[in-house]
Amino acid sequence: MHIPDAFIPLNQAIIYWIIALIFVALAIRWARKELSDEKIPLVAVLAAGIFAIQAFNIPVSLGTSGHLVGGALAAIVLGSPFAAVFILTMVLIVQGVFFGDGGITTMGVNIINMGVIGGFVGFYSFKGLMAATKNLPVSGFTAAWFACFIPSLACAFEMYFAGTFPLVPGLITMGVYHAAIGIIEGVITVVVLYLLISVRPDIVAYKRRVNG
């Protein structure tokens, strides 16, 4: 879902950057409050892991592949949608600046889609589903699926405003592909959650809250 520079005209890209920077500022405020000296390397290793998993494209048939984005994962593990904004911003900077994966002018819109929308959708749908079902795999999978699917629809609208995709075919095509890619997002999110809970339940935010 990494939008390259060529897909969005510069004036629109700047508007997305401005919106993104507001959320990045809030994410930095979150980091300032939440990150202790102990926690900083744990967050860093989560970012490094998300970077690595993002590079692993898995075929979803349909002539298409997809990879974990990690917005839901970051938000669930660290207990805040701003954690997702913080980590995804860092990952997108590394990807855009060093690897040309996602544009520079479009980094703002990519932060909005994957960090902000992915993080908020992932976090609040997980919270709601956990309250309703008390079932970690179902809640984690579904939240992560939505955290992939909803940003892809936002992306289709942005592509429409940019004049890059027509609206309805864009929505349908992005929706179909990311409905499939969302399965990857869901499975990896649940697997990583279980791995983390099995070794260190105390650092997984939702576990910490449950255990007092």
């Binding site: 939008i3 298409t64 592909y177």
Partner: protein, 115 residues
């Protein structure tokens, strides 16, 4: 598992995934690229590519940026080894960047509030 072990285990895990990605990651276009190809008529919704896609030229009026390690590689010449080096570099840069930014953010806030 203490923090130090967890961090080392996490980095090792990231490196293993990253190296595996060099050899096993799918080269198929991702969801957005696929959509662009469908819109351009170069791919059907449920099918593979019908033609070899060209470079997408678009709306941005000429802004272009050349990343030092495009497509997570060091170019054809260095092959898989270059891709592994690029991947390791990315993992380390991501790790160091988050630590650096977090420490700077904390330092600034400590200066503001001395308690």
């Amino acid at each position: 598992m203490n923090n130090k072990t967890l961090i080392i285990a996490g980095l090792v895990f990231a490196i293993i995934i990253g190296v595996l990605a060099v050899f096993f990651a799918s080269g198929d276009p991702d969801g957005l690229e696929s959509t662009a190809l469908v819109i351009k008529g170069e791919k059907t919704l449920f099918g593979p590519l019908s033609v070899n896609p060209g470079v997408t030229e678009g709306a941005n009026g000429g802004f272009s940026y050349s990343a030092p390690l495009p497509d997570y590689s060091m170019g054809e010449k260095f092959g898989h080894l270059g891709q592994i080096v690029a991947m390791l570099a990315g993992i380390i840069i991501a790790f160091v960047l988050v630590i650096g930014v977090s420490k700077v953010v904390r330092k600034i806030s400590e200066k503001r509030k001395p308690n």
